[in-house]
Amino acid sequence: MTLPSRRSALPGFSLTLGITVVWLSLIVLLPLTLLALRPWTLGFAGVWHSVTEPRVLAALRLSFGTAALAAAVNMPLGLLVAWVMVRYRFPLRNLADSLIDMPLALPTAVAGIALTALFAPRGWIGALLLPLGIRVAYSPLGIFVALVFVGLPFMVRTLEPVIMEMPKEAEEAAATLGATRRQTLLRVVLPALTPALLAGFGAAFGRGIGEYGSVIFIAGNMPMVSEIAPLLILIRLEQLNYAGAAALALVMLLASFAVLLSLNVLRARMRSRT
């Protein structure tokens, strides 16, 4: 955000900033503050102990690992989908366009049950993969599949406007200057899209670590193997261990904040370089 050095053409800067700050505080900061205050009834050592148990660490590794991997896989996949949607006109394009949003609109539990039915050992896809020794449902691989599914629209919708604004002339100019298709892609198109790809990664990743509904049915939920951190939070709530649940939530919050912040910093640097 840059403060206007001269009077802006639009009036009401202080009013709008005021509303923004109040609104952000009420909607975002207040609940987060309460969350940050909750665990400390355990004492510092208690909080530390409760978030460094092997089972908690395994769950955190799993949640952050699968979310990062799924978001990474969604980068090329989402780019491809967004590119096709923006640059080409084809039959049923509107239908395809709406389909992309389905993972957002579908209740996550429905998505989870559908994916499980598909990938379970007796499911359509699961039955084909089982002879190859690949178990998708009830393994970390299942979590990854669910997160790729829910993450895709975040990537596509972040990339689309950026691709739309990219002048086709840049590619044509590169071509006329003798660049190969490969060079055009690597030197002209991808650098321009990298900040958007990072933003999409951040959005898909953020959704992935917190995702519960679609994952819980396909994960298998075995401690140390396929138990996601949000489930561990729920388990602590069930045991009326509110402080322990908040401690774990706080760790997830800080870790995701750190990841998203560094992505934003990276993007800002890239933008200032170009």
Partner: protein
Amino acid sequence: MGAAPRRARAATTLLNVSYDPTRELYRAINPAFIAAWKAKTGGEITINQSHGGSGAQSRAVLEGLQADVVTLALAADIDALAKRGLIAANWQTRLPDNASPYTSTIVFLVRAGNPKGVHDWADLLKPDVGVITPNPKTSGGARWNFLAAVAWAQRQPGANEATVEDYLRRLLHQVPVLDTGARGATNSFVQRELGDALLAWENEAWLARQEFGGGAFEIVYPSVSVLAEPPVSVVDSVAGKKGTRDTATAYLEFLYTKPAQEIIAKAFYRPRDAAVARQYAERYPALPMATIEDFGGWDRAQAKYFSDGGLFDRLFTPGK
């Protein structure tokens, strides 16, 4: 009860907060009680139901869900409410039979013909047998499953703490998926065709058999199980405030009457009433059952097996 005035009053509404597998049971009980209450007092009542995991339901009441009565999966979940002052400490002696108008036990549901030959707890350890049970941290039924396994292991020749732990560790090794609730586990077993034996409430096993036709599944009674006593109580803080204590108490007392016990037996729960029990003796075979007292009561069982750092957690933690 008899003191209730014999005239039409504004309709009273009761909320019964219950656990997952009692949906079908209370759907049958409620109309019977409403009719009996009207015949007795002339009063109109409406009964609303809420179902979910027993622990989650207990927490919902704790956080302000206005339940007149709770009918949960285990005493620990009502104790949690008593400890925080919502229910009188002596709740379990206010009604007969530990305030549990029906009981159940833990059985195995296996696929037709019992292809893996699962007859008792030892058979669950066969290398190719997949065992389905929910997570005892989130499911009341799963806690009974776990305790039933403990009860069997404790009764083996030469049993000690180490052999019991060893059995449980190997048993959990056979489990491919831990659902969060009993219904979820039933679905994994029945719909996803996962595993070879489902550790289940007897009532849930019968219900699954009925829903999917008698031919698809068989119920296996192990040599030892547990006597599960799902208890009921009036929520004093809510009933006192709403003035529904009389109706709520009558509702729970109704569960012990013969007509209700008949409904209970038909809904696959074991009735307390001796005459009704005799009538349904064929459906509910007698078997040796450990009670929660054998584990020192819920407080001790909870601390030893299911609390953070308890046996269940340790079984999954390597190197401990």
